[in-house]
Symmetry: C2
């Protein structure tokens, strides 16, 4: 395991670097990759980017004005990738070729011989910021936007318990560098398509309560996407809603996937532990947020199994 | 106009201080009052609190463990009060007796002979934090919770354009002092009553679009409160929703008040200016958020007038 200075030393000796993001890319993996590449370019190196999936248009500004040269990479590294499988369609091509991983996931499964993993970092862009400082990359507005994007998207705009004093101090620094925090937050948190609003409305209309209001569940059948034209990711935010309701200890969101599998997203308030509940179905995650899958059964059956498990777990906690 | 050091000097010479919050108290006015009182008590002074309205239970922790002595105040001051009228029911009692005002509103109308007003501060608790440092009050967990509460509630959890590097740096400091940021954010932003969820659902179900999707409007008739049991303040968050929809430039929320008056909350995206639109009906506010009233007419008529004004304004901006 490397530290920040050692990671910087590795990069200082490299050129022609390929930076990989995880599949289904989010603001932290893309912000980390773009901030790092911009820094490497500023140091006179060649850097380019790859990701298994297409980038949502709202993240386009991260790449603005950055030259994308095509070259055969000498070195390959990942940012914000917790596990090789999260490279998605790029896994096969790069397995065994990745020399360096920079990540903040507590669940990081090592796959690169050299890695800097800090689970107490709220976002991988926190680490990239420290790395760029170590490399002597100076204040830059475009880098600032990239770093800020990772900080704000991975913390629900500084709302989560993962936020530390360092997270806020780095936010202060990059706003001073010129990060357009207000606009980034508007795009990331205050912009919904009509299809998304319509889909959320349908889903929330069907919210069910059980265990005397201590559990709330919403279901997202495939028909919602067909009726509204919403994309799968348009309903990502729904998972946080059931838990927000007063008195709810366990909030469950069941989504029917294209392959017929039913996926559960669980969000809990203390003293319940999402990861412990999901472990009953082979899933996992964190205390406040976790997930599990129900392959090969209907939504109806998955809901029944989940309901029974919630009841049982609340009894175990003496909450029922 | 005083600066921070001069304000501290005034307070150093005072004892038996009454701190006033504005009516309909929010997290910033209460956080400011409680942080300041805790600091004054720590310096061996007597301080007490008054507000025209009752404090919502969710703010109870701000007052936890703080002795509330009853004494005849020698000095009276306000925190986060932009105008004498905002003292509500306490105005008459204290008009002419207020010696010091600490505030961050750009619209501050002077009413105290001594005042420290910094409009570029995102919250009044930012100023109170600086003041306590100047007074030599050391790290304290309860004060930290009060300061953080003002920062996060007045900035939508660090989301608004009013946030500066200083806001983030103070957040970092008070988290180091022990502020329970995660729990405060959960209570302030992730906790809704069932009545509130139900009321929001009814209101959003009726969202109307006009001007080719550039305007969105929701209506909150009195019947919503009667049907759901929601309180007026339960629907405060609704005003921000219409503007969040892709393509919407003007978002309007019409609320029927108990006195029959219809109040409009307007939220706009650039290039539209909420304050300019509301000025047509004698209202005002900021560029992004403003309001106006329609006394003595029905919701139906207010909606028609507002719709016509939006159309006219969008034409003026060449957006229609």
């Amino acid at each position: 395991m490397l530290n920040c200075a050692e990671t910087a030393a590795v990069l200082r000796n490299w050129d022609n670097i390929l930076v990989l993001s995880h599949a289904s890319p989010d603001g932290d993996t893309l912000g980390s990759a773009c901030a790092l590449m911009r820094g490497l370019l500023a140091l006179g190196k060649r850097a380019r980017f790859a990701c298994a999936d297409t980038i949502a248009p709202k993240y386009g500004y991260l790449f603005d004005g950055m030259p994308q040269e095509d070259f055969a990479p000498e070195h390959v590294m990942t940012v914000d990738v917790a596990d090789l499988s999260l490279l998605g369609g790029l896994r096969e091509q790069f397995e065994g070729r990745i020399e360096l991983a920079v990540d903040h996931h507590g669940t990081h499964v090592p796959f690169a011989p050299q890695r800097w993993v800090e689970p107490h970092s709220a976002a991988t862009t926190e680490l990239v910021f420290l790395l760029l400082q170590e490399l002597g990359v100076g204040p830059d507005r475009a880098i600032a936007d990239c770093i800020y994007t990772g900080l704000t998207t991975d913390t629900g705009c500084f709302r989560y318990r993962s936020v530390t004093p360092r997270t806020h101090r780095i936010a202060a620094e990059v706003i001073e560098w010129g990060a357009d925090a207000g606009e980034i937050n508007r795009v990331m948190f205050e912009s919904k398509s009509k299809a998304q609003v319509e889909a959320e409305r349908i889903v929330l209309d069907g919210m069910e309560f059980f265990c005397g209001g201590k559990c709330a569940m919403v279901r997202v059948p495939r028909s919602v996407y067909e009726t509204t034209g919403a994309a799968d990711s348009d309903l990502d935010g729904v998972a946080t809603l059931p838990r927000q309701i007063e008195g709810v200890v366990i909030g469950v969101t069941l989504k029917e996937k294209e392959n017929g599998e039913v996926k559960a997203s669980v969000r809990t308030n203390l003293p319940a532990d999402s990861a412990r509940l999901c472990a009953r179905f082979g899933g996992g995650g964190h205390k406040g947020a976790a997930g599990c899958s129900f392959p090969g059964i209907t939504m109806e059956k998955a809901a029944a199994q989940m309901t029974a498990a919630c009841e049982d777990y609340l009894r175990e906690l003496n909450l029922l």
